[in-house]
């Protein structure tokens, strides 16, 4: 992909009760934010495993956001406290081995903070855009990969592209 057209791929792991609902509120309030980020709903921020983040990077994510209820507001009382400890550690570890803080960001967004949700997504997207592609990880991903011959590859991406092209023709 060339640099100019590059759009970051961002994954957000969010808890069902606060951040997901906050995102719903952002929607009902018709707040606008970039479309780069896709949400994966889990029940509680306490249930997000660090491996999820690595998996996201392995699948080409340029950035990851983890978000849950504010401390003391957890639907399950304490899940986010455990999460916070986990992320404190994991973030230090990633930082040490060379993954910048901006690649993996964290927030607390309550169900009433639709605005904050939109702001956070915007900020994360901008941060990642400023950092550029996560090339160092992607380099690892591309080891042992192969380009399928063009005549064979009538699959996913091209199909997607094609359907957009049709749109422009219309």
């Amino acid at each position: 992909m060339d640099k100019q057209n590059w759009e970051p791929k961002i994954v957000a792991f969010v808890c069902n009760w606060c951040t997901y609902t906050g995102a719903d509120l952002a929607g009902t309030s018709r707040l606008k934010y970039p479309a780069n980020c896709k949400l994966i709903r889990v029940m509680c921020s306490g249930s997000i495993d660090p491996v999820f983040i690595l998996k996201a990077f392995e699948r080409g994510a340029d950035g990851v956001l983890v978000s849950g209820c504010h401390p003391n507001d957890c639907h399950y009382n304490a899940g986010n406290f455990h999460a916070r400890r986990r992320w404190d550690f994991f973030h230090k570890l990633l930082d040490f081995i060379g993954i910048e803080k901006g690649r993996l960001q964290f927030s607390w967004i309550s169900a009433s903070e639709g605005k904050k949700f939109a702001d956070v997504i915007t900020k994360v997207t901008e941060d990642i855009k400023a950092m550029g592609q996560f090339t160092s990880y992607k380099k690892m991903n591309s080891e042992f990969t192969v380009d399928f011959p063009a005549d064979l590859a009538e699959l996913e991406e091209p199909v997607l592209q094609e359907s957009f092209d049709k749109e422009t023709v219309k």
């Binding site: 992320w87 550690f89 973030h91 380099k139």
Partner: protein, 294 residues
Amino acid sequence: MNELIKHAKELLEKGEVAAVIGYRQVSEKRTKPVIITEPEETRALVFNEYCLNNLAVYLTKARIKLLGRKNNKSFKLAITAKPCDVHSIVALIQENQIDRDKIHIISFNCHGVVKDFGFDFNGDNLSSKCITCETHKPLYYDKLLGEVKETPQARDSALERIKEIERMPHNERFEFFRSEFDKCIKCYACRAVCPLCYCQRCITDKTIPCWIETSSHQRGNFAWNVIRAFHLSGRCTGCGECDRVCPADIPLSLINRKMTIEANNLFSFVSGRSLETPTLVGSFNEKDNDELFM
């Protein structure tokens, strides 16, 4: 050393323990672990500067059951443990892997062990965990042997390397660790030798879903080493065994050491130092660091 042999022999003769996990000398500057079940065999036991294995790794639930069983009755196990090995035992007790009443800890006043077998014990060949060691006398024991001696002086080169790495920019750091991890052949010796890696099935052996790619290509190695380090964060007692056994010489203990330092900075906690302090994983404080979160 006679005291050790005498004590171990007594334990076995009196039937207080079913087995003694200890060290035996294989050559002048080399020892290896041994499991002794007969009083007569205790004469092989030694303790010296060449006892660098952390025998706590043998204290798995299954082994304790298996070795502790004699004539259809279950007995205690005795283990010879350096003060630092006792840290591992403490961590294992806290994680419900060992019943304190089921083991008899024979510990020593310790002034350090060698880094490599086969060479003299001195400052140049001092295991890096001994350089910063503060527990020359064990925190918990059932029998204390040996006298206090001075530890040779040595430079804490591991800490210097950590500092050095921290000074690198992120992409260089990433490249450094990527290339180090790339050497990994996934023999899992680090896992096998770690007393705290007692899981019946490791996360990397889970296939549904596949948590960590088992292939030892770059990203598989990266994921394995990162997650291994994460799983030990706040739990690692710093015995350095993983580093010692790694056939690819990956500086695993640098990461473990770094995370231990962070645990101490963030939560004032060092694993395996006290049976009373709640473990870092599995507990929380409402006042934990919140800076990370927007």
